[in-house]
Amino acid sequence: MRKPVITTIITALMMTIAAQAQQLKEPNLKFGAPTEEELTMTTYEHDEEAAALVLCDITDVSYETLNGSFKVFYNIKRRVKVLKPEGTKEANVSVEYVSKDDVSMMKEIVTGVKATAYNMENGKVVKTKMTSDMMFNERVDNSYRRLKFTVPQVRQGTVFEYQYRIESDYYYDLNTWYAQKGIPVAYTRYELVIPEYFQFHIDQTGAQSLEAKTEPVSVSLMGFGGISQCNGTAHKFVGRHLPALKGDDYVWSVTDYCTKVRCELNRIVITGVYYKDFTSSWESIDKMLMDMDDFGGCLKSRNPLRKEMGETATDGDVKEKIQEAVKLLRKHVRWNGEYSLTGSPAGGVLKKGTGTSGDMNFILISMLKDMGMEVYPVVLRTRDRGHLPLSHPSVKMLNAVVAGVAVNDSTVWYVDAAVAGGDVNTLTPKLVVDRARLLTANGGIWVNLQDVSKGMITAGIKCSLSADGSFSGRYDAVMRGNSAMSARADIQEAKDSADYVSSCADRLGVTIEKHGAVGKSGFSSEMKEYFVFSGQCDVSGDVIYVNPLVLSPVRENIFTAEKRDMPVEFPYSRSIRQSVTLELPHGYHVDELPAPLNLRTPDGGMSCQMQMAVTDNLVTTMFRMTIAKPVFTVVEYEAMKQLFELMAEKANGIIAIKKN
């Protein structure tokens, strides 16, 4: 029977209102008194799979004064519901805080730790408090300690609460507040009361929306011999029903996509007493860096390898000169695996024989300058640390430096002397950022390293097919840029050459009889690789089924998730070209050729072409795949995934070869 339209509309309307009412339902903000609903709930309607749920998370930040100095206090209260047995791990809490091992007066302390579990037993609420013997403290390293505690009597169904207070001397450096956690959050509130003396730039980022409110307040400051009053501002952020946030293999830093509030101090103004401007612009940071001994000072250093460079170093084209300089530097200094923005005195680095990326790149800059090149430091934040914030510049956001060589008025080449296997304009993926700052004498400019550091593989395969379905052939490839760097890393990581060849053969599903590579180490633009292979196709009666690419460059679609909440960040842009010539056995012909493939995403960020042709007893196939940009947004995911799927299908398809 057909439902009357009006009934359907009313029902839908009522459902919407009910849903909104549910959405706007105020949470229980009273700690120490979980509601019956919280105690009896078994699933969370917004995430029915959740093992645990943050019911209420409140962070209040306020200022006080003590011994003539400001302190910032973080009061954290959290109520959590355990929905599944695996959610009990949320009851093991760890709070990391600054506690320097040296005599530094600046520190943080954690006080007021309390935790309580609430369980429904026989219709009654049973309350279990954590005792102090369940709290432990450990020194993580010279700068940090960790308070660990566990809430007792936590099991499936438990609601538990805990609270603590961090008293921090770092009043000028407020901790970033993250609204999202590894489990969903039903309600979260961040309230920050800032006395008029401090002017912060407050920046909210992330995909989830927060209710934000700012209002003037009167602030009471304890200390200075009593209570003093001043004006201030209260900033309040509220988030409701925020999904759990988990990283995956296709984002460099999940915190980039976490909804959060970050505060950056602009200035301190205590009228008539104290004034300090912390306002930063990238221009002022450029200047600050240039004034620093371990940055600007390093740029003034003489080339410490002048003697070793000799006269030959001044010959050859610019690229060759840079390559030779890097090779020479690496003979004297090995990278210790650390990225750094600054450098140590070159003499000490050379004596030690190892150094950070900063140590090495400052020496490289001095070497290249000594060769008469125009070279600039290029500062950046490595991708694993997250993007450089668009607003409120801060030097603490930077953690690496590379060299920028101006080859003419419009072209700069980028070089990193530290990470092995690269080349000019071929940086390790961690350094391939979209916003790096090139510092010249006239100021800094933004540069996009993703435009230059790319990979390319050009491969040719010649293969003969026999009537019994066996095939043999030779693969020749030239890898350039990041593709060469990646291949070199694979070779270096393998236990030995046999191990490397074996893993290649397993990956491609063939037997490799002979293998060779040129340019597999060092600092150069390309690596060449070849191998002789053999394998077996499926045969049925008079028909042989063969993959026209023989060695498919795309084995499967790696994107299987139906949707994504975060972008896909590839290591770098790249392209693969593969041409295949397949010789058919005598007396056989191609029964049917697949249709050509020509796909591209709407913006051309990814594309794939595959074409085949038959001439006499030769089948030639041309395959080309291009990932023209390293980042695909959430909106672009579906198109990218579909292209990958069709490409994987085609690249692993078959053609039927039939006996005449």
Binding site: E138, V154, A498, D538, V543, L646, I655
Partner: protein, 622 residues
């Protein structure tokens, strides 16, 4: 130690070959132990490692474990280059300290130093002295070969014990004898020297580390530990000491006693009662590790576990024991090693105990097969499920009336089955509706149970790694059930694949099963040196029904095949005609230790098994 699995493996289990190809030679390794009194021991260590290439870089790192009783007295180090020139010196103050631990609480801390050599080869030399005051329960282990791909030129160990102090030791995987010399001053010196050892190459499917690498575990014959004393002259003696630690730890509050009786008094069988108590354990407790002082060996009392709702393996096993005791069921606290399958034959030691389970006799008693081996830290395991970290291991069963070593039974390979029942409804566009039912039984239970812990997104990701379903659309919730009574895990899902089959003009290529199999890594080994080790017998069964689209006929279909050798078998059968095909693949992996010359057979079986899963049928438009 918590036994908890997050393993998601594919149909043929996959092992990883560690890629840390260390290129290092132990030029000299010396340990000199001076056991001066029951409460004082010092030892001097010297390590001289020649590191040939960057793969061996990790051997430049230095780390020592310390705690309340053990401290580092002195330390120095040098790094020399190929010309013998000292390029770096390290002193004690250069060491970093961390108390970081995965446990909730531990009194251990580490002192460490890390270094990147500027060039290779280099030689690192570390010399340090340690001191142990009180609580001397073990001495440094002599492990002359510290890892794979490491050759040894010289290693020696001496232990000098003051008069009246007895030393016991367990020697394994090495021919050199320990020589005892009685000195004039009444001390005794135990010496062992290893002149040279060839490298042990890292190869795939290799026996466990403990079965291959030479080592001697030295221990005091008798010991004092936090004002308790015991003997290591035998495992029963150690058991007796452990038994003493349990004394008075089993008291239960009246409320819990009442609860136990109300839940178990009506159970008709003893097994039923044990099962009910095990369920209570799972409902009331969780695993949390606290290792402080004597708490490293003495469990938290049962009443504290009840009060807190958590405990470590010792505490939870003791708690379970106390609960069973309350309802009249005898059980035994059973320390075990999750690393060593075989305990030292003659003497006991503390190095081979890192976990505790509970032994509950359910038959005539005394027989391992008639005992429920209860893992108390992971309630998701069925009662008495023998997980891989203890299966086949020696275990010390502790009892007031006498302690004994037993062996935990292993799974019968025939019971370890992973079966996929798959139905594929294929359309003429290549899309398919696929219904999947995967069942893990026996030892495979642990592999499947990890799925239950995953959230929906992660479970879906794993599903799409297990099954190749291009352009997938999940059509129903993925359901994972742990059926503890029959010890199986069942995963059910209905998935659409928009491109299950590849369409090429008039032809369609269809995989006979969507199940993905990872091929075993051959590890680049051209000449196999070590025995081949297969720890677990497993049967994988694949039953696939494919409904073919209308308008297509089968052009090519894999023929039935069977392959078998010492390592197992693989069989493929395809039946049916017209609209439906039934595919059955059964692969069997046999447990065992096989001679190295059979390695090509081992690889051959793996390849044949994998190849069967990758077969395709070709359909052609009529």
């Amino acid at each position: 130690m918590q036994i908890c699995r997050y393993i998601i493996t594919l149909v043929l289990s996959v092992y990883a070959v560690a890629c840390a190809a260390a290129e290092m030679t132990v030029k000299d390794m010396r340990t000199e132990v001076f056991w001066r009194s029951a409460r004082s021991c010092t030892w001097k260590e010297t390590r001289v490692y020649e590191i040939h290439a960057p793969h061996g870089r990790d051997w430049t790192d230095f780390v020592v474990n310390c705690d309340e009783s053990i401290r580092l007295v002195s330390f120095s180090g040098t790094v020399t280059d190929a010309d013998g020139k000292v390029i770096h010196k390290i002193k004690k103050s250069d060491l970093q300290r961390t108390e970081y631990s995965r446990e909730l609480a531990s009194e251990n801390y580490k002192l460490w130093w890390s270094y990147t050599p500027p060039r290779y080869p280099i030689t690192v030399r570390f010399e340090w002295e340690m001191e142990c005051r009180d609580n001397i329960i073990s001495f440094p282990v002599f492990a002359p070969q510290p890892g794979f791909d490491v050759a040894v030129e010289h290693a020696s160990y001496t232990l000098t014990a003051a008069s009246g102090l007895g030393v016991v030791y367990d020697r394994r995987n090495m021919g050199q004898e320990v020589c005892r010399t009685d000195n004039e001053n009444g001390t005794a010196t135990y010496t062992v020297e290893v002149p040279g050892l060839p490298e042990i190459r890292q190869e795939p499917a290799i026996r466990p580390y403990e079965d291959i690498f030479p080592r001697i575990i030295f221990s005091p014959e008798s010991f004092t530990y936090y004002n308790t004393g015991g003997s290591l002259d035998s495992w029963p003696s150690l058991g007796y000491w452990i038994c003493g630690l349990l004394k008075g730890r089993d008291g239960l509050p009246a409320e819990l006693k009442a609860m136990l009786h109300s839940r178990t008094d009506t159970c008709r069988t003893e097994y039923g009662k044990i099962k009910e108590v095990y369920a209570m354990l799972g409902e009331q407790t969780r695993y949390v590790s606290i290792q402080l002082g004597i708490g490293g060996y003495r469990p938290m009392s049962a009443s504290d576990v009840w009060k807190n709702g958590f405990g470590d393996c010792k505490a939870l096993a003791n708690y379970m024991k106390a609960m069973l005791g309350e309802i009249g069921i005898e059980s035994f606290y059973a320390p075990v090693s999750t690393v060593y399958r075989k305990l030292a034959e003659k003497y006991a030691n503390f190095n081979q105990i890192n976990h505790v389970v509970l032994a509950v006799p359910v038959g005539d008693g005394g027989n391992a097969a008639d005992t429920l081996w209860v893992e108390c830290t992971n309630p998701e395991l069925p009662l008495g499920y023998i997980h891989e970290d203890i299966a086949g291991h020696d275990i010390l069963v502790v009892s007031d009336s006498g302690c004994r070593i037993q062996r935990v039974p292993e799974w019968n390979g025939k019971k370890n089955v992973r079966q996929n029942d798959i139905s594929i409804l294929l359309t003429e566009t290549g899309s398919a509706d696929v219904s999947l039912r995967s069942v893990w039984r026996g030892a495979c239970y642990e592999q499947g149970a990890g799925l239950k812990k995953l959230d929906a997104d992660d479970c879906r990701k794993v599903l799409y790694r297990m099954f190749m379903l291009p352009q997938p659309e999940t059509k129903s919730d993925i359901k994972c059930s742990l059926i503890k009574d029959s010890c199986k895990v069942v995963l059910e899902a209905n998935v659409g694949s928009r491109k299950y089959a590849g369409v090429n003009g008039s032809r369609m290529t269809v995989r006979i099963t969507p199940t993905q199999v990872m091929r075993r890594d051959k590890g680049g080994v051209s000449e196999r040196r070590m025995e081949i080790y297969e720890p677990l017998g497993i049967t994988n069964r694949e039953i696939v029904n494919i409904s073919l689209p209308q308008g297509y006929e089968i052009e090519a279909c894999p023929s039935d095949s069977r392959f078998s050798n010492d390592f197992g078998s693989a069989e493929l059968k395809i039946t049916g005609s017209g609209d439906t095909l039934s595919v059955c693949i059964e692969t069997v992996v046999r447990k065992g230790i096989f001679p190295p010359e059979k390695f090509s057979d081992y690889i051959k079986l793996r390849e044949r098994q994998a190849a069967m899963y990758e077969q395709k049928i070709v359909l052609k438009k009529k």
